[in-house]
Symmetry: C2
Subunit: 211 residues, 2 copies
DNA sequence: CAGGGGGCTAAGCGATCGCTCAGTTCCCGG
DNA sequence: CCGGGAACTGAGCGATCGCTTAGCCCCCTG
């Protein structure tokens, strides 16, 4: 079932028809983009007539907003859960990157809509989404700042590095394919290591500085 | 002039009307996406009637292909020129990332079309673009491989790291804004440093291994 | 069994899409 | 001064768009 990866995020949506429309819209938006997707296509994937869409959602854009909001909330929650209860900053960063990357790979269909269809949102809807996006940036930047304070990390440009790590994770949604040679777990592991390198992580016990 | 950043890539296109259409299409595709852009909009930006578009290009998709082809050729050329004549692998990697990032920032309008509208290309056109994309991947992977051979780099997963560095550079096109707090040069400098860290670069003279 | 409201469909509205075509303008060789 | 072709426009074609409306079905309540 190709929708397996999406069920997790939208499983709680009711009624059933509204959820089926959401799932159809996610796949359609991810494949063709918001503007190229017709309401007839979405309704067809949900096994309904085009008119049925407007019983559950006011407009096509509202459907996009629902997807974007739930998707952003999930990805922020994933980040928040990941950084909880870690022993040190290095573990916190590794966990955060692992989880964030895994989410973008496993839910790449949803993630593509979340990350690349922002411009199709209406003005007020966009403003509400931006708040959620800022939240995830702050979480990651906080991890880097704390690591620098504790001496675990060596980062000349914290803000820039935080943005780069975020960017690296997000771009996974663009190129990831289930048919590719790597699983989401493997990519998460690799990227966690790369993020630690970007943060200038010094393994415990080795605190001598060069130069 | 907002088209200043685009002129460089498409300055050689003749006749004048064909170039103006290209410039209009680049901006329109970047702002709204290929499918959401109307031929009337493109022609309007070029100061012509909608029908004039079809004198210079067979279809709207052919316009996209021209933009994508020229854009990919430029970005590959930028990479190739960057890696020439560098003293060692570290300098080669730093130059490559600096140049590639700068191109994606300075030409972010073109780069967005190049990187995010691939799916709108026709089948044969897409196949021709993929060849160009593979080329830039190979260039970067070659730099990393050589650095590992020479002992300058420490990279457990060369293929994955090459993909990650590429991904990091490409994603600049998504978030870069001229109104942002960083110039393309500054981002290039930061990212070159981050790429060296990702490659496990050991500064010359320090060849001792840990463990 | 009657009454009514939510979920759904068939049909279609006005608008707009990519693209075509007949016709006008203008430049350029002879 | 003339003939012809390239560049371009106004008008419009058939198709399709997001969305609406009128009405049907079916289940719930009493």
């Amino acid at each position: 079932m190709t929708t397996g990866e999406i069920d997790e995020s939208f499983g709680g949506v009711t009624p059933d028809a509204a959820r089926r429309l959401l799932l159809g819209a996610v796949r359609a938006f991810a494949e063709r983009g918001f503007h190229a997707t017709t309401t007839r296509d979405i309704a067809g994937r949900a096994g309904m007539s085009p008119a049925a869409l407007y019983i559950h959602y006011k407009t096509k854009e509202e459907l996009l907003f629902h997807i974007s909001r739930v998707g952003h909330e999930r990805s922020v929650a994933v980040l928040e859960e990941a950084v909880e209860g870690a022993a040190d900053s290095a573990e916190r960063l590794a966990r955060a990157v692992r989880a964030f990357v895994r989410w973008h790979a496993e839910h790449h269909t949803t993630a593509r809509v979340v990350q690349y269809e922002l411009a199709a949102l209406g003005e007020e809807h966009y403003a509400r989404i931006v708040v959620l996006r800022r939240r995830s940036e702050e979480i990651l930047r906080g991890v880097l700042e704390e690591g620098v304070r504790s001496g675990e990390f060596d980062i000349p440009d914290i803000r820039g590095t935080a943005l780069a790590v975020m960017s690296l994770c997000i771009d996974v949604a663009r190129w990831f394919s289930p048919e590719g040679r790597r699983t989401p777990d493997e990519i998460g592991e690799l990227y966690a290591d790369l993020a630690l390198r970007m943060a200038g992580h010094r393994p415990a016990g080795l605190t001598s500085s060069s130069g």
